[in-house]
């Protein structure tokens, strides 16, 4: 187990290194720079600016400098927001994004599993059909359309929830719902099909023959076995919620990290793009490792070990 974790962490660092390298060079290959939008900058000022931010150095030196920065967790200053560093922006934006993401994640997991289980238990009855209708809508309507739709009805028409901004719990409801819609739908469908398969298994019949009631059979014997593929999906789900948040945060005007990321790209704010990318990559890689560990907790047949060893 410890050996396995060590190995995994080494691979994680390796993939993070590749991500940093790839983003760095792709970003440099894009034409334009952080100061191209500022009009009428005399050449000497531009040169001074570039010298200040070390943009005049050869590419490989900039790259090595940056790598050093990442290792010491100093992601550099923002080119556009002169007053703050990237570290500041992350510590300012991430709590908001994490709150929104966690809320959406919990909603997606619990909502999706509940919908899926109900649909499977009431197979081919109205509960099944309505749950699957919700799921199809959730899968096929993009989050940003859903977000505007919520804003129109819940905020403008009925005035139940505030339309945008981030000032309290009621502000979090609409964006969480918009962000969670797709994963809820996906998890519901996944859970339903797995539950149906598991409920047809022989061991469910064994459980029935023991005289257990339906609730015990469902909770103890069926759901646990049906959840394995859902756990597999949690890794990609994390990525979905992170990237989904970019758009949703913009629509609802939420001061999260996703919004900073989107703005930084249009501004060619090199250090912010790099910083947020690295940060998101770390979250994702750690998340995937956690998912793999979660597997062993649910399925005793899976042991984390080196290939070929028990």
């Amino acid at each position: 187990m410890i050996r396995y974790l060590g190995k995994r962490i080494i691979f994680m660092i390796l993939s993070l290194f590749l991500i940093v390298t790839a983003t760095f060079f792709i970003m440099k290959a894009v034409p334009g720079g952080p100061f191209t939008s500022e009009k009428n900058v005399p050449d000497e000022i531009k040169a001074a600016l570039e010298a200040k931010y070390k943009l005049n150095l050869p590419l490989h030196e900039q790259y090595l400098d940056y790598l050093k920065g990442v290792i010491t967790w100093d992601l550099g200053p923002s080119f556009v927001e002169k007053s703050s560093t990237v570290n500041d922006m992350i510590s300012r934006g991430f709590p908001v994004s994490a709150h929104l993401g966690a809320q959406a994640l919990l909603l997606a997991i619990f909502g999706g599993i509940t919908l899926g289980v109900v649909a499977a238990l009431k197979h081919n009855k109205w509960q099944d059909y309505s749950a699957m209708l919700i799921a199809v809508l959730g899968l096929s309507v993009p989050g940003f359309i859903l977000a505007s739709f919520y804003q129109y009805f819940f905020a403008i028409k009925w005035g139940i929830f505030p339309i945008a901004k981030w000032e309290g719990f009621e502000y979090t409801v609409l964006p969480s719902l918009a962000l969670a819609a797709m994963p809820i739908a996906f998890i519901a469908r996944l859970t339903r099909s797995n539950m149906l398969e598991v409920l047809g298994q022989d061991y469910i019949k064994t459980a029935k023959a023991k005289g257990l009631n339906t609730v015990t059979i469902t909770v103890k014997h069926a759901i646990r076995n049906a959840l394995l593929p859902v756990i597999t999906y949690l890794g990609p789900l994390l990525a979905n919620i992170l990237t989904g948040a970019f758009v949703i945060e913009r629509i609802f005007g939420i001061p999260g990290l996703g919004r900073e990321f989107v703005i930084s790209i249009t501004n060619r704010d090199y250090t912010v793009i790099m910083g947020t990318t690295v940060f998101y990559a770390i979250i994702l890689v750690v998340g995937i490792l956690l998912v793999d560990i979660a597997y062993t907790l649910v399925d005793p047949r899976i042991k984390l070990s080196d290939a070929g060893r028990e």
Binding site: A207, A209, L212, N225
Partner: protein, 332 residues
């Protein structure tokens, strides 16, 4: 006085499918006495398993439906029981062993946990008492190192061990009746013998009645007191093991016995199978279900279904050849 622990009267079970109503069990009568081992034999699709699962009302309803008949267990009709009432009978008074031990155990729960569930539910045991009882049961079914095994998962058990664990689960609450649905089919031959010995031994120890469902006549000869032969959803012959093996009356039973390999015959001689397939139970035949495959079929067989006729005090067969009138005519 002999005590009938189970009596099945005129049981009809159907499944409603898109194609129509499949009449899987069409009027089955039989009984099981206390401490007796009864075999139900017949080829695939003849209604053996459906009958067995109906006894515990384990068939999915819908699409399944008990159309008619009674299942008297200790004199109480199970057909009218609600699902809640059945839950207190399943596992406590009637235990069941299934065919494939590889899929009949839950892969995410420990063996001990799966044995304990029934004990906690039916005998109100505490977890630690149930655990101790589970270890006892594992010892009883011959699993070595039960203290260690009780905390292991099914994937750490071999096929034979899993079937032993299944038997431990089924016998946990000392049921009066044990239904074993092809308990040895998925095991290899040496393990089969071990499992059968174990079941025989436990039957004596606990005085349990057994209904053994199988298509392996060798297993029947080894285990059982009486045999029920089923064909196309009906009982076509019943009798003691000796009756059935030495004096079979129904052409189907004779055919079944002929198709078993024997040690005393020339090995080069091919086995004699029963040609053809069982009738489609979506549209069951009017007459005897075996007519189309029967060597001695007569016109009456196509038009009228024979009743079970007494051959002796222990044996009955449903065939026009054994009808009292036919006997008279043959005699005159």
């Amino acid at each position: 006085m002999e005590e009938r622990i189970l009596e099945v009267k005129d049981l009809h079970v159907s499944f409603h499918t898109y194609a129509g109503e499949v009449k899987a069990v069409r009027g089955v009568n039989f009984h099981v006495k206390r401490g007796e081992a009864v075999a139900i034999v017949g080829e695939s699709g003849c209604g053996k398993s459906v009958t067995a699962q109906t006894l515990m009302k384990l068939i999915p309803m819908p699409p399944g439906e008990i159309k008619k008949g009674e299942i008297l267990f200790n004199g109480v009709n199970l057909v009218n029981k609600s699902n809640k009432e059945m839950e207190s009978i399943r596992g406590k008074d009637i235990g069941m062993i299934f065919q494939d031990p590889m899929t009949s155990l839950n892969p995410t729960l420990t063996i001990g946990n799966q044995i304990m569930e029934g004990l906690i539910k039916h005998q109100n045991m505490s977890r630690s008492d149930a655990r101790n009882r589970a270890i006892e049961l594992l010892t009883l079914v011959g699993i070595p190192q039960p203290e260690k095994r009780v905390d292991q998962y099914p994937h750490e058990f071999s096929g034979g061990m899993r079937q032993r664990a299944m038997i431990a689960i089924a016998l946990a609450c000392s049921p009066q009746l044990l239904i074993a649905d092809e308990p040895t089919t998925a095991l290899d031959v040496t393990i089969q013998a071990q499992i059968l010995d174990l079941m025989k031994e436990l039957q004596k120890k606990m005085n349990t009645s057994i209904i053994l469902i199988t298509h392996d006549l060798g297993v029947v000869a080894e285990m059982c007191d009486r045999v029920i032969v089923m064909y196309a959803g009906k009982v076509i012959e019943t009798g003691t093991v000796d009756d059935i093996f030495y004096n079979p009356q129904h052409p189907y039973t004779k055919g079944l016995l002929r198709s078993v390999p024997r040690l005393d015959l020339n090995r080069d001689e091919p086995l004699t199978p029963i040609f053809g397939t069982p009738p489609d139970l979506l549209r069951p035949p009017v007459g005897c279900g075996f007519t189309a495959r029967c060597e001695s079929a007569m016109r009456v067989c196509q038009e009228y279904d024979p009743e079970l006729n007494d051959i002796s005090s222990t044996q009955r067969a449903a065939c026009w050849l054994q009808h009292p009138l036919a006997q008279n005519r043959a005699g005159s």
